[in-house]
C-alpha cells in the first residue's frame, strides 16, 4: 500500500488480519456486518449534541430508533448509531458533526475499532446460552435491551436483531470469535447425537 493512502481492511476481507477464517453456517449462522455503516460518539457533550439534532436518546442500555437507524445508549455520554441500509442518513449526521463546533463529544471510532457480527439460525438460543452467561430469553431481554457483558469470553455488546443477536466487540478478536462460535455450534451438534 502506498504511503498516505488509507484503505479499510475489515476482518474477513482478503488480506485482512483474519483472512481465511470461516464463518459458520447451518443450524447456527454467523455473519459479518463489520463493513456496515455506524458512528459512535463519546465524552462530554455527545448526548446534548445528538439530542439537538432531533435524535431521541433512549435510557442507558436501551435502543432507540431515528430515521431507520438504531440508536444504542451505551452510557450517559456513550452513544452508537447503527445505520444498516440507511448510509445516507448517517453520512448526513456525520458531516454535520464534523462541521459543528465543540462541545460535541469525540468520535469513538466504532466503525474502525469494533467488529459487528450477527448470530442467527435454528439453534440460536442454544448457541447463545453457551456463549453468554446472561439470561437472554425474550421475557427477560427485550428487543430494545442492550447487554454489555462477555460473549465467547470476550468483552462485547449484544442486543436483539430481527433474525437473532448482534454482537459488537474488539475487531482484533474477530478470528477468535468466529472460532469460538464454531466450537460452540460443533459441541452442541456432538451432544445432540
Amino acid at each position: 500500500m502506498a504511503a498516505g493512502t488509507a484503505t479499510r481492511v475489515y476482518p474477513f476481507m482478503p488480506g485482512g488480519a483474519a483472512d481465511g477464517t470461516r464463518l459458520i453456517s447451518g443450524a447456527v449462522v454467523l455473519s459479518d456486518l463489520t463493513d456496515k455503516p455506524r458512528f459512535g460518539l463519546k465524552g462530554g457533550g455527545s448526548a446534548a449534541w445528538l439530542a439537538a439534532q432531533g435524535i431521541p436518546l433512549p435510557a442507558v442500555n436501551r435502543i432507540g430508533e431515528h430515521r431507520g437507524m438504531r440508536v444504542l445508549r451505551l452510557g450517559n455520554e456513550d452513544i452508537l448509531l447503527l445505520a444498516e441500509g440507511v448510509e445516507a442518513t448517517l453520512a448526513e449526521i456525520k458531516n454535520g458533526w464534523q462541521a459543528a463546533p465543540a462541545p460535541k463529544g469525540y468520535s469513538s471510532w466504532r466503525e474502525e475499532g469494533w467488529a459487528w457480527m450477527r448470530l442467527s439460525g435454528a439453534r440460536l438460543a442454544e448457541a447463545m446460552s453457551s456463549l453468554c452467561a446472561l439470561d437472554l430469553r425474550p421475557q427477560k431481554f427485550g428487543a430494545d435491551d442492550i447487554a454489555q457483558t462477555r460473549v465467547g469470553h470476550i468483552e462485547a455488546v449484544t442486543f436483539r436483531s430481527p433474525t437473532g443477536f448482534d454482537i459488537l466487540f474488539d475487531i482484533t478478536a474477530s478470528a477468535y470469535f468466529a472460532r469460538a462460535v464454531a466450537a460452540v455450534a460443533g459441541h452442541a451438534d456432538q451432544h445432540r447425537g
Partner: protein, 88 residues
C-alpha cells in the same frame, strides 16, 4: 459463581469486574513529608471494618463504588460516583 451488582448493568459474574482499591484522600504534594508520601504510595491498609472501593465493569468501562466488609468479604452495596458523600 460469585456475583457483583453493577449499578448500571445489574448483577454480573465477578469475572466482568476489575478492582481499583479503596477510595483514599490524595495528599497535597507540597505539604506532605517524604515519609508520608512513601506510606501513601507503598503501604496498604490492613484493617478490619467497612471499606469503600473503586470498581470497574470492564465491558462497559463504567467505574463505580462498592462498600465491602473486609472481614466477611460481603459487598454491602454498590453505587454510582455521584452518590459518594464527599462529592454530593
Amino acid at each position: 459463581m460469585k456475583l457483583l451488582t453493577c449499578p448500571m448493568n445489574g448483577p454480573r459474574n465477578i469475572d466482568e469486574f476489575q478492582s481499583f482499591g479503596p477510595v483514599r484522600a490524595r495528599p497535597d504534594p507540597n505539604a506532605t513529608a517524604d515519609r508520608d508520601w512513601s506510606r501513601h504510595l507503598f503501604r496498604a491498609e490492613n484493617r478490619k471494618g467497612i471499606v469503600i472501593e473503586w470498581w470497574r465493569h470492564v465491558p462497559s468501562n463504567y467505574f463505580f463504588l462498592a462498600e465491602r466488609d473486609l472481614v466477611s468479604n460481603e459487598v454491602i452495596r454498590t453505587f454510582d460516583v455521584s452518590e459518594l458523600p464527599e462529592r454530593a
